[in-house]
């Protein structure tokens, strides 16, 4: 006997579990099928564990630098093992929390692999272990996995070659680490290990780290980390990995660098195989499932959200996409917008941005005005960042002065960037922004100060 559901969700990451929670809350009969732990990459091997570790690293950094603030912390040490086990505890707590939420909203969770059998008279037929499921609607949130490029010697991850998954399972601090790919994931791990004293080298194929973020700030960030001891090789294409040696071509010359461990963080690819997707004739686009602004695939009643769509690869995008699906299923006309999705690099200092960068504005021929201001214009920043520097940059439309993009380098930009998201979502112009009251003294005032620079 098969069981019937209004909505079946494959994948319990930020897209899947948020959609399940929202749909259950609205009274839909929901089943969530997850082969691993609830929470997906984000909770188990992404956002949460890395931020937990980065906080430990930041505390350590701050303790070492406490003297500048008149605090004498002697013989500051760290325990890598404790850091890792605390990370496990945090992850466990949050994963458990997701499970509780599922119960609270009457979502049935099946912990096994799902297999889509195809369309049936009543919707879509899915097998999950011994369970036969008939669902009126199907939401696919199978996420993404680390992409390991076909470079000789790289192959599947092993003791030396790691992805985000393996590196989080290390029990001992490596003496040296080579990071292939200077994107967000690469930079965050680099920052963590650099704080703890590992010799870190970043090999990036493009001519700057953190592509897609504001370039000027990316350069500033690279220079900050170069001072802290990270070695950067830009415009460097890895051609071979020989054991612990990474061979790359830079400006026509072949160079190499050796690391006890090698982290591959060149990108991620959507997971579209192994669960019967082919039985639905779902259309793919550049490796991901093709969806419209309501997250509908080309097959009626079949939706996709999160990394499996292959274009945003951010947990917060995934959750919102899941919500869009549920809203449309429950009678609220909702659509996904990608113009105000924040991006944050949780390095120390944090680097956050939302909306258009200057580079993108130029590329798209959008007439803009730009004002940038040193973070030092915010009193609170000076108070808390002895000797630190940072930048806030605001882009507005040339004609109407609407906020197009906001970029900040400095702590705690990750906590303030949402204000800029709202300004962009609401298409606020300078005039409206000027009337908003910011709490004083906070670093967020830098946003207001920059606005008054126009």
């Amino acid at each position: 006997m098969s069981k019937n559901y209004d909505l079946a969700i494959i994948g319990g990451g930020p897209a899947g579990y948020v959609a399940a929670e929202r749909a259950g809350h609205k009274g839909l009969k929901v089943v969530l099928i997850e082969k691993g732990e609830l929470g997906g990459v984000c909770l188990n091997e992404g956002c949460i564990p890395t931020k937990t570790l980065l906080y430990s690293a930041k505390l350590y950094d701050n303790a070492i630098g406490a003297g500048k603030y008149g605090v004498d912390a002697k013989e500051v040490t760290f325990d890598f093992g404790k850091m890792m086990s605390r990370k496990e505890k945090v992850v466990k707590k949050l994963v458990g929390g997701v499970g509780l939420k599922m119960k609270e909203h009457h979502v049935e969770v099946i912990k096994t692999e799902a297999y889509i059998k195809g369309r049936s008279a009543s919707g879509i037929s899915i097998t999950a272990g011994d369970e036969e499921i008939e669902a009126t609607n199907l939401l696919i949130c199978t996420g993404s996995e680390a992409f390991v490029p076909p470079i000789p010697g790289l192959g599947t991850p092993n003791d030396t070659i790691l992805t985000n998954r393996e590196i989080l399972k290390l029990t001992e601090l490596p003496a040296s680490l080579v990071v292939i790919g200077g994107g967000v994931i690469g930079m965050e791990f680099a920052s963590f290990f650099n704080s703890l004293g590992t010799k870190v080298t970043i090999v990036e194929m493009l001519d700057e780290i953190l592509t897609g973020m504001d370039r000027e700030m990316s350069v500033m960030m690279r220079q900050m980390y170069a001072k802290k001891g990270i070695t950067f090789h830009l415009s460097s294409k890895v051609v071979e990995v020989k054991g612990t040696e990474v061979v790359f071509e830079k400006e026509g010359k072949t160079e190499s660098v050796t690391g006890e461990k090698i982290l591959v963080s060149v990108g991620r690819k959507p997971v579209t195989k192994g669960f019967g997707l082919e039985n639905l004739s779902v259309e793919l686009d550049r490796g991901g499932i093709k969806v419209d602004e309501k997250m509908r695939t080309n097959v009626p009643n079949v939706f996709a959200a999160g990394d499996v769509t292959g274009f945003s690869l951010l947990a917060h995008t995934a959750s919102r996409e899941g919500e869009v699906v549920v809203n449309n299923l429950t009678g609220r006309n909702d659509r996904m917008r990608y113009n105000a999705i924040p991006g944050v690099v949780y390095t120390n200092p944090e680097f956050s941005g939302v909306g258009l960068t200057e580079e993108k504005a130029k590329e798209q021929n959008i007439a803009y005005r730009c004002v940038k201001l040193s973070m030092a214009y915010a009193g609170r920043f000076i108070a808390e960042n002895e000797g630190g520097s940072g930048l806030c940059k605001v882009l507005v439309g040339d004609k109407y002065g609407e906020v197009l993009g906001v970029h900040m380098l400095g702590n705690p930009s990750s906590e303030m960037i949402y204000g800029a998201c709202m300004a962009i979502e609401m298409e606020m112009t300078l005039k409206e922004m000027e009337e908003v009251v910011f709490p004083h003294p906070t670093v967020s005032e830098i946003f207001k100060e920059t606005i008054f620079g126009f």
């Binding site: 979502e425 609401m426 298409e427 606020m428 005039k431």
Partner: protein, 441 residues
């Protein structure tokens, strides 16, 4: 003091009228009692005369526009008086009053003796009195609304629409809509369905949703729709199909082509030749060259041939008057000129009226159509559809069969006016004329 003239209500069921004539231009001097505009309902034509002396300050529509009854049509005022909401207009901020004065028959024309609201310089608040009262009562900030009435005037419907939907609009979208005169009556795709700058559209463009797009019909489309439905609903039409041996036609065309190559001026087309043959047949069948009106038949002494022309703006059927007087060259030249005028839009509207023609030819042969049932342009009695040329087996004598090109002919006629026998004989006559056509170059 400006006087606004509205579209009078002609009876209970009439919701809108079509403007048919506007003899004056904006800026023209108007004398009381002079014709201001002519308009028609689906049943009759009417004229509206100037209620006061003055200058025509504004006319919100063009001839052919459909105007909702009781909507403002034009404004008469003093020379130099300003009424645009965007211009400073201190001179028209006088006391508002609405005079309802009885004019002609029972119908009443509402004449407002001043612009219905004070105009604040730089603020768009050109608003109808009813809208203004409603807005005041409901506390609607009219400065933030964009009207859908003539010239962006806010009308009661706008206030009602605003009250029912209260669409949120982003500050940017608001500014952009005001500055670039864009329409905010659109689907919002922003936060909570708010209207963003990307959702704004040009005034008058289609309404687009996820599922469909609604486009207003053009005036010509409205007229065609009305005429076509009227024809099928108000006549007993049916179609006979027949074909004519096209060998003579094709050889004539060959002769013409050769002559044109050698410098002959008139490029007589197959369609010209067919129409020429049709005119000959019509001369023998006066009962087809008629209009069927109520309880009588109108027999025309001359043949006024209607020609269906496909244009970018829709189907047009201009008429060639006195076609029976024309030589094949004259007919050919007129056909070309009239089709070009239709395509350019410079055709005299009088030549487009279905009453102007006595018989119509619609040729779809060029497109490869093998058979169709043309719709009669009432009050005409019949219409000929011309189809493509197809080789058909034919006995060539002595039991020998061969393929002979045949031209398909489809005659739709109003069975109220003609009997099947007559119609068939007429159709056969056309075929005979085509098969035996001769021309002189």
């Amino acid at each position: 003091m400006a006087t606004i003239v509205i579209m009078p209500k002609q009876g209970q069921s009439v919701e809108s009228c079509i403007l048919t004539e506007i003899p004056k231009k904006v800026g023209d001097k108007i004398t009381k009692g002079e014709l201001l505009f002519a308009y028609e309902t689906d049943k009759a034509s009417f004229e509206e005369f100037a209620p006061v002396d003055g200058v025509l300050l504004a006319f919100y529509y063009a001839s052919g526009d459909e105007v909702t009854v009781l909507k403002e049509v034009c404004v008469i005022g003093e020379p130099g008086e300003q009424l645009s909401a965007n211009q400073p207009a201190a001179s028209v901020t006088s006391e508002k009053e609405i005079i309802v004065m009885p004019v002609k028959d029972e119908k009443a024309v509402v004449v407002t003796s001043a612009l219905p609201t004070e105009i604040v310089p730089g603020v768009s608040c050109f608003i109808s009195p009813r809208a203004k009262i409603l807005a005041a009562r409901e506390g609607v900030d009219i400065a933030s609304l964009r009207g859908t009435g003539p010239n962006g005037r806010i009308i009661e419907q706008d206030i009602l629409a605003y009250l029912t939907s209260k669409p949120k609009i982003t500050p940017l979208a608001r500014k952009k809509a005001d500055e670039e005169q864009l329409c905010t009556n659109c689907t919002g795709t922003g936060l909570g369905g708010s209207i963003t700058s990307k959702d704004l559209k040009q005034v008058g463009t289609a309404e687009v949703t996820d599922e469909f797009e609604i486009k207003k019909l053009s005036n010509i489309r409205k007229l065609i729709a009305k005429a076509m439905l009227n024809s099928l609903q108000n006549s007993a039409q049916l179609t006979h199909h027949l074909s004519a041996d096209a060998r003579q036609l094709m050889s004539l065309r060959k002769v013409v082509k050769k002559a044109v190559d050698e410098g002959y001026k008139t490029n007589i087309t197959l369609n010209d030749l067919i129409c020429f043959a049709v005119i000959k047949a019509l001369k023998r069948f006066p009962q087809v060259n008629t209009h069927f009106v109520d309880d009588s038949m109108k027999y025309f002494k001359k043949i006024h041939l209607g020609i269906a022309v496909d244009t970018d703006r829709g189907l047009m059927v201009p008429v060639i008057r006195n076609a029976d007087d024309l030589s094949i060259q004259g007919l050919s030249n007129q056909m070309r000129e009239i089709a070009a005028a239709c395509k350019k839009g410079s055709i005299n509207p009088e030549l487009l009226a279905s009453e102007a023609a006595t018989f119509t030819v619609s040729n779809l042969g060029n497109y490869g159509v093998e058979m169709f049932t043309p719709v009669i342009n009432l009050p005409q009695t019949a219409i000929l559809g011309v189809n493509t040329i197809i080789p058909r087996p034919k006995e060539l004598g002595d039991g020998v069969y061969g393929f002979v090109p045949h031209l398909g002919l489809s005659l739709t006629y109003n069975h109220q006016a003609l009997d099947g026998g007559e119609a068939t004989r007429f159709l056969k006559q056309i075929a005979t004329e085509i098969e035996n056509l001769t021309i002189e170059l």
